[in-house]
């Protein structure tokens, strides 16, 4: 593997000194880029694109060609693991992800098994290897997975839900069954992320998209505890390099201290969190990643730059911050607004830390 030219992102995650605040964007390879839409048309369905390592590599690199981003993230879906468990992931036009065979019966839950990443998820590992080669040491590559609870939401509900009624009823009335799903998911995600690390992922992120719909008590028992299991089981070094791990619960701002205590290197913040207070709350336990509202990218470039500066100033001088959005970038975002954001983050953080701001 080539030596990394820009390791600012990795150093920030490890709270080591950096020259500026690194930035990447959740869902940075996506529909807001015309070149992505073009590749997607050639690929066929969304899952065809995910399953083709060559095309997955192509779209992973697209945002890096346009913007001065400090990390690449594997192009894939958060639900590849339950798909590999045999639930049949598909995307209905204009709707979110769905499963052909959601978990509805006790025997279906009892029959769940941990997939072998080297077999059922080979296509992801091949994409990781191909992307690493193509990046040629320019910036680090992030691997990722959905969290055990977030996977379980889709596995049990069968798709996106407005009220999470099915999984919450299971949680209350048959916690034993939900714990079985979550334990299986945690083992599967651990193996999957470790396989991504072996294939070349230089940092990993756990996306807990739906942990925030739980109550404070059930969050700890049914989401956070299983993310801790994963963090405990992750390879933290590979090829002589430390592999940082980011945990992000959308809507989890109230539980930041708890998240920071599970052993991850960084915690993601959505835009409801005050990053200044967040830094004081986590102390030197973890780095922080976030936290611009993706909708702020619809403002004028001048206003976008002002919003970025406000977050950088709220975080304050020093390392330990990776700039990002608080959720995936919207498909309607004008690409040149992303340029304005990236430029503002790099320029202002350099100025701030040189004392010239």
């Amino acid at each position: 593997m080539s030596k990394l030219k820009n390791d600012t992102f990795l150093r920030a995650l490890l709270r080591q000194p950096t020259e500026y605040t690194p930035i990447w964007l959740m869902r940075q390879a996506g529909r807001y880029l015309p070149e992505y839409c073009e590749t997607r048309r050639r690929a066929g369905s969304f899952m065809d694109l995910c399953r083709n390592p060559h095309l997955a590599c192509e779209v992973t690199l697209q945002p890096l060609a346009r913007f001065d981003l400090d990390a690449a993230i594997l192009f894939s879906d958060i639900l590849t693991v339950p798909d590999a468990m045999g639930l049949g992931l598909y995307f209905a036009e204009g709707e979110g992800p769905k499963f052909e065979r959601p978990l509805r019966e006790e025997w279906e839950i009892r029959n769940l098994t941990v997939p072998d990443p080297g077999a059922e998820l080979r296509y992801v590992l091949d994409a990781v290897s191909e992307i690493r080669r193509a990046l040629a040491g320019s910036v680090p590559l992030i691997g990722f997975s959905g969290s055990p609870f977030t996977l379980a939401c889709y596995m049990v509900e069968g798709g996106a839900s407005e009220d999470f009624r099915i999984i919450k009823t299971l949680l209350h009335d048959r916690p034993d069954l939900l714990h079985h799903v979550l334990a299986t998911n945690a083992s599967a995600v651990t193996a999957y992320l470790n396989a991504q690390i072996e294939a070349g992922a230089q940092a990993v992120m756990i996306f807990d998209t739906w942990g925030g719909v739980l109550s404070h008590r059930t969050y700890k028992e049914f989401s956070l505890a299983y993310m801790k299991r994963i963090v405990d089981g992750l390879r933290r070094e590979h090829d002589g390099a430390r592999i940082p791990c980011i945990v992000f619960t959308k809507g989890g701002g109230q539980w930041l201290e708890d998240i920071a205590a599970i052993g991850c290197d960084a915690a993601g913040l959505d835009w409801t969190v005050d990053i200044d207070a967040a830094r004081r709350r986590v102390g030197d336990k973890v780095a922080l990643q976030g936290n611009l509202d993706p909708m702020a990218l619809f403002a004028s470039p001048e206003k976008i730059a002002a919003e970025a500066r406000a977050i950088l100033d709220a975080y304050g001088p020093g390392s330990g911050h990776v700039f990002n959005l608080g959720h995936g970038i919207s498909q309607h975002t004008p690409p040149d607004h992303v340029t304005a954001l990236v430029t503002a983050v790099h320029e202002h953080s350099r100025k701030r830390d040189s004392g010239a701001a």
Copy 2:
């Protein structure tokens, strides 16, 4: 007006001693009750039901006939104020509320005027009076309105939104225009709630359903500041009785101290908030209302009772707590599960405070 037989709810809001923890449920008069569906069929549309004081009174009383609830809440919609401003509220089948004439042009915003509650909203005040007569002093009647920001979301977006892109773009690029909408809404809601109080509402609640989609900075400027204006302008006494005021921002758990500081008597809590920590955070500033996940009502009656006891025990002994859900009750809720909840709250809180728990 008849003397109030059960004022437990009002005393709890004012943090005065009570014999047990009072309970009511957001959206307690609603589609989960077959008798509501029957009245709704007779009325015609949802707005026909809201606009008919006699039928609005009928459905307001229905849950009180079934359950031992400690308060009634006016049956109405949170969007009556912008409807009275001429935006044309309607409900498309199977969708949320929509406006025929959303605010899209600057001149539409500049032309907004504060409606006269005694004219355009007469039907609401007539319902309040009729319900007060029908209640005959059994339990207090709660009046309510949507918050200025929540009203603005629907007024600008034209209906429910997934990403609030239009209002957030307005917020960033034309804050002057959004402030004009919010100031108009705040004046209108103040007049509206005061008119409800004069007509007989014995407590009022401001529903800030969407404040939680804002960032911590924009929440204070664009939602909380305008709720404070309302609270500042409310009649706090009527007919010799103190009129308590409840403010509820769904998803606002991180900002509880700020909410408690605007002069309201009680703050609503959704289920993500730890009510034990919340009580310590607000001290003796406000009472707390909440905070069971509405989805917990799909569990077995035994489990529902256990969840209720857990919240009561987390709050701890003493007054200042009104039990409620953290959001409106689901239309799919089995009515007998509500009976289980109400019984558990009354029984356990009596036991807890008698030291026998």
